[in-house]
Each structure stands twice: as structure tokens, then as C-alpha cells.
Symmetry: C2
Subunit: 379 residues, 2 copies
């Protein structure tokens, strides 16, 4: 170890793959989504799965600055990380909702932190009550009713059985009754109105606020907004049904060019001997591979860009890199370029998803840990 | 914030998805691979991409204890993290090879740390020389020749031009000349021997050690071992061609059961209304979703297990969870079960990969950050 040099390069510098996150666009989207619902309806933010891959802490803090105060995560771990970030920045009035609820063994954490558990079954409600009793004041929680997902939450019947006594339990303070739409990305799907009806049928009789709307529901009309909406994907620039909802692109994904080479016709490129160059070509190797979330099956469906020109992926994607065709770029263009663009806008993630039979959510949440997140903008 | 409780649950407790890593099996595999080559041939370990998803630091430290001293990573960032782990454990004689080489801007890091860059082009060699001059002693490096990947490394011609002067450059100490096989997972592929011949043709004339063998090459015979092998996948329990090479399974992937429910016939499960139960069913929701690396297209090809009984995935995989059919399990089996198994052995990752038209490497390296890594065993 040589200690002559004291200033070390920051880690993001060393990254070869970069996710650029526009926090101003993110905040614009939250404002736009917030404006869709009435003033009495709160607009939360779903920031689970590392803020849909964009970085939970940075995304949440930017949203806090623009006025958001309610944040949904899935796991207790995520809540703890997010709470650390909020506390460090004195954002003490941010509310963190935990969709997994209070699992067995989680009680001390929910006692310690002011997280709001989304109670999914009678056992979770009982744990919430126990914590309320122990701390000598009601525990604020959400009751989740399943109306068509069969995933998490009380069945409508269970809720109907429990509900008459819930409101009177002194150790619980139920801030919302919530449910989740299965088909909100398809405005015409009959399940949307069926779920809304089922939800209101059991919850309207209680004087408790209601929360149903995910991103898709925000665009289904005011009937679906109720007392709180909780957009996820739309915050990040994409309407779930792919429609234009005046959302701003929030992210782009670029990668460094590691090496450029000229090869003869008949040269093997990549693993498996699956590609031989049909003619002499100029190739660029870029520093993003399948371990970074650039999955192997994307290869025929994704075209990178340098200087605005399309550069197809050649051969198989490797773990840490892939090779693109830059034969048609001029020397000047290549000399000036240090990076290639993988996804230029949020919409490109949706477009790649459509071509690879998946959804943008999956592409975003699988962008790997080695990909540096760079933030600009904000309020 | 309530400060009555001082001991907080550790984060891994809160995870709902778990990768169990058997460090004894990992070390057994390294010993087995090491035994294939002669005593004069060193056996390194490829631990890039977070140790193929299993956790770079833990994997590397276990391998160090079993005798491994040479570790390959892709990125400078990975090298810095790994160096921190080795230094904290006083493993000062571990050598870290950086496959990306010295990129522009990386010079101060390579000056500061004792990393061994894999030089992929003339500019990287020049940077290595500059560092050697600056530090007043030769910089140890590897020269990478491309023999059929067209990915990284000097072309054979470039190397032939540069080589006569390389050995005499006082500021460089070339520890190895290396190349990388494109088809080592296919023992009969003609490219294997062609690459070996190309590699030796240009490098045999210099008195510098040679390194060619990845996991696949280890099983191609001693001709391919040369002076150092650098297995990756095989360490983690899998031969690249799927053959039985007496490797031990290194990992399993399990997930917590979040909720169990009974549903009537005709009940929607999951997003999109794509699945309705054909008859009354009992379903379990488990805490692993596509954001954890359980990709949506795995659904029809992957069967989870509880109490040794297969539990197929029902409906679409969600971001944080999926639903499995547990109708055929007894009450006792369900009461005793808190988890379902996603992959029971390393081989299950290969089997899933084969069914989903990819490779185990991709499945492993995309297991998400929320999945807790649990280690047991070791030397």
C-alpha cells in the first residue's frame, strides 16, 4: 500500500455503467399526479425495490422536498434504510408505510420506529394491538383488504367479520383501509370497477379513510382516488398502460466505451461462437453486461446509441460487458464519444419491455448494484 | 421515535428472501479445481459481479482461508471493496486482478492500491508504465490478448508488434499474459484448440507466465491450464457445460411464506386477471418477486417446494412477491413450514437457466440486493 496519494477516486467514477436520474422530472411527475386528485386526497409515493431501481433514498428525499409525506416500501429493511435517510436530513414528519406488515419477529422494530404497518391478516392486526398496548398509545396502522389479487390482505369476509370491533380497539389507530387493483393498467377491464365496488361495499360503512389507487388508478378517474393515492411507476415517468399522461422522463442509462477495435470478416464475437462478422467491422466494447441488468435476451431487441446513431448489440451479452457495432460511425464521432446510451428515456424502458415480453418495472428494478446512480435537478 | 428499545433487529432478519451460501462446499470446489492442474499451476478465483451474486467479500475470504491468493474482479470499484475486506482481515498477501484494466482517470487508484491491472490495449499499457515511473518501481500487470472474443484485449497483431519491447520496459513487471476462451463450455468446439494455438503462438516466445483457463478450460485437459487457471462458475458448484465434475452445491435460495389463504373457484390471482382458479384452492404468498431476481418469465418454468412437495407459481410474479399453489399440502405441513424453496442446489439454477433459454451465471448475478445472504461452513 502506497500512502503518498491521499485523495482516492470516488466509487462512482470507477463505474462503467450509469443511471442518470432527473429529480426535477420526478418531482414534476409527483406534482402532476397530485394535481389529478382533489385537494382532500393525499398523494403518497411508492419507493420500494430501491425506488424502482433509481435509488430509494435520493428519490424519497427529492419527493419530500416537493411536498410528499407518505412513502410506501415493501420490506421492514427498506423502511429502516429510508428512515435513516429521512432522520439524517431532519425530515421527521415523513410517514413510512410497510406493505409486508408486522411479521413475526418484527415487533420490536415496529415498537422502536414510527413505521405504519399495512396489516394483511388477523395475526398482523393482533401484533399491532400488542405493540399499541405495550407502548401505551394506539399504534397507527393500515388494514389491507384483498379484492382480487389473492396476494396479501384480509379477504372481504374476514374484514367484514373483524371490522365491527376494529374501530373500537383502543390500542389501534387505523389511518386507512386499503386495497390493490389487479388490472389498473387496462382502463376497460371490468375488474377495476368490480374491485372498487367490493372495496367500498365493505369499507364505506366505517368512518375510516380509504386508499386504493396505484399509478394506473390515478388515470381511471376520480372515483378511484378516494382519500389517498399511491403512485409508483408514474412517478418515474411511465403510465402503466403506456399512454401519454404528460409525465416527464426521469432516467436514462448510459455505459462507458471500454475499447474500440477493427476486425476482419469472419471474426468471432462473444461467447459460443454464435456470431461471425460478415464483413470487416469496427466494434466497441461497453461496460454493461447481464450482471448489471442488461439481460442476455435483450440483445436482438435493444439498440444502443452513440452520437444519436443506432449501434446494435453484436454476439452474446457477457457478464460485465457487451459488444456493439460502430462500423458506421465516423472517426470524429468515435473520438468524441466516451459513452453509449442504453436507454435514453423512461419510455425506452417501456419500449424494451414490450419487445421482450415483460414490463418496465422489471427492467428498472433489475438494474444492478454496480450501475452508478447519478442525480441531478430537484426542487 | 421511541428509545425504550435499544437492541434493534439485524437487517437480515427482516428479509423475506434468503440465499444460503455453503462456504465449505465453495472451498471444497476450489480444492477440487486446484487439484486438476499441476502443482506449478496456480488456481485463482473469479469473484466479480458480487461473487457471482453470492457475496464477493464472504466468498473471497473463505477462498483465501483455503489457500487461494489471486482474485479476479471486473471493475475498479469491486477491487476497492474487496481490498477493504481483505485489509480488515489482515489478508495482506491476496492479489486483486482488475479485468477492466487502468481506465482514464483510474491512475491514482492504481498508484495507491496494489491492484494488478489487466491491460487491454496500448493506452492501458502506457498508463501502467506511467504509474511504474511515478512510483519508482515496476507496476505489476497482466497483458490481455484477444484470441476470439473480440471483447477486450490487444489483438494478436498488436501484441506481436508491442511484445519485443514490453519485456524490457523497466517500469512494467508483466506477471502473466492472458486470453479468454469463447467456447470452453463445449469441449468439442474447434475454437478451443484454435484459441490455445493462437495464444501460444504469440506468447510462447516470451519468458512470461501464461493464463488462459476459465472454469470450462479446467475440464478441457492440462494443455489448457498453463501457469494459472481462473475458475468462476465452477467454484459456485456448476460446470459450464452442465456435466458432473464432482463439484458440490454451494447455494440454495429460499423465501418466507407471507400469507396463506383459501380461495373459491373463479378467483383472480395476481396482476392482469390472467389467472382464475379452476377450483377452490389454498394459496401461499411468498416474499420474493421480480425485483429480487425472480423474473416474470420464470413463472411457468419454476416450481417452488414446501416440505419437499412441488408448489407451482400461480398467476404473474409481482415485484415483491409471488403466489404458489399449496392446495395439496397437509395442514401439518403448512403449519410447520415458514419458507418455500426456490432453488435447492446450484444445479437447480442451471436447470432453470436451461428452461428459460439463459445461463446460470445470469440467474445468479441477478439475485437482488434485498435477498439476504446467509453464510455457513468455511475452513
Amino acid at each position: 500500500m502506497d500512502n503518498n496519494i491521499t485523495s482516492l477516486p470516488a466509487a462512482p467514477h470507477a463505474a462503467t455503467s450509469h443511471l442518470m436520474v432527473n429529480l426535477s422530472a420526478l418531482c414534476d411527475n409527483w406534482q402532476r399526479l397530485d394535481s389529478l386528485s382533489s385537494n382532500s386526497c393525499q398523494t403518497a409515493a411508492v419507493v420500494k425495490a430501491n425506488g424502482y431501481g433509481l435509488g430509494m433514498e435520493a428519490v424519497s428525499q427529492a419527493l419530500y422536498h416537493t411536498g410528499c409525506r407518505s412513502f410506501f416500501v415493501a420490506r421492514l429493511e427498506e423502511a429502516i434504510s429510508l428512515n435513516d435517510a429521512f432522520t439524517a436530513n431532519e425530515m421527521f414528519d415523513a410517514k413510512i408505510y410497510v406493505l409486508d406488515g408486522i411479521r413475526k419477529g418484527d415487533e420490536s422494530a415496529f415498537h422502536h420506529y414510527s413505521f405504519i404497518p399495512v396489516c394483511n391478516d388477523a395475526a398482523q392486526i393482533a401484533r399491532a394491538e400488542d405493540i399499541g398496548v405495550k407502548q401505551g398509545r394506539p399504534l397507527t396502522c393500515v388494514i389491507h383488504i384483498d379484492t382480487a389479487m389473492s396476494r396479501l390482505g384480509l379477504s372481504v369476509d374476514e374484514f367484514a367479520r373483524l371490522a365491527p370491533t376494529l374501530a373500537s380497539r383502543a390500542s389501534l389507530s387505523i389511518s386507512y383501509i386499503m386495497s390493490h387493483l389487479a388490472c389498473a393498467d387496462d382502463a376497460d377491464h371490468p375488474l377495476n370497477h368490480a374491485q372498487l365496488a367490493r372495496f367500498r361495499d365493505v369499507s364505506d360503512r366505517y368512518d375510516i379513510r380509504q386508499c386504493l389507487g396505484n399509478s394506473g388508478a390515478l388515470f381511471l378517474g376520480t372515483d378511484f382516488h378516494l382519500d389517498m393515492t399511491r403512485p409508483g411507476l408514474s412517478l418515474y415517468g411511465l403510465a402503466p398502460d403506456g399512454s401519454d399522461q404528460h409525465l416527464s422522463s426521469v432516467f436514462s442509462w448510459t455505459t462507458d466505451i471500454l475499447q474500440i477495435r477493427e476486425v476482419e470478416a469472419g471474426t468471432n464475437v462473444g461467447y459460443g461462437g454464435s456470431y461471425q462478422t460478415p464483413h470487416p467491422m469496427r466494434l466497441a466494447t461497453v461496460g454493461t453486461g447481464y450482471a448489471d441488468g442488461l439481460l442476455r435476451h435483450f440483445a436482438p431487441h435493444l439498440t444502443l446509441h452513440i452520437a444519436g446513431k443506432p449501434c446494435p448489440i453484436i454476439g452474446r451479452i457477457s457478464m460485465d460487458s457487451c459488444v456493439i457495432d460502430v462500423s458506421h460511425l465516423s472517426e470524429t464521432e468515435l473520438n468524441q464519444a466516451s459513452q453509449a446510451t442504453i436507454l435514453e428515456t423512461s419510455a425506452d424502458a417501456a419500449s424494451l419491455a414490450a419487445k421482450t415480453d415483460t414490463i418496465a418495472y422489471e427492467i428498472m428494478t433489475n438494474i444492478g448494484a454496480r450501475v452508478a446512480r447519478h442525480y441531478h435537478g430537484g426542487v
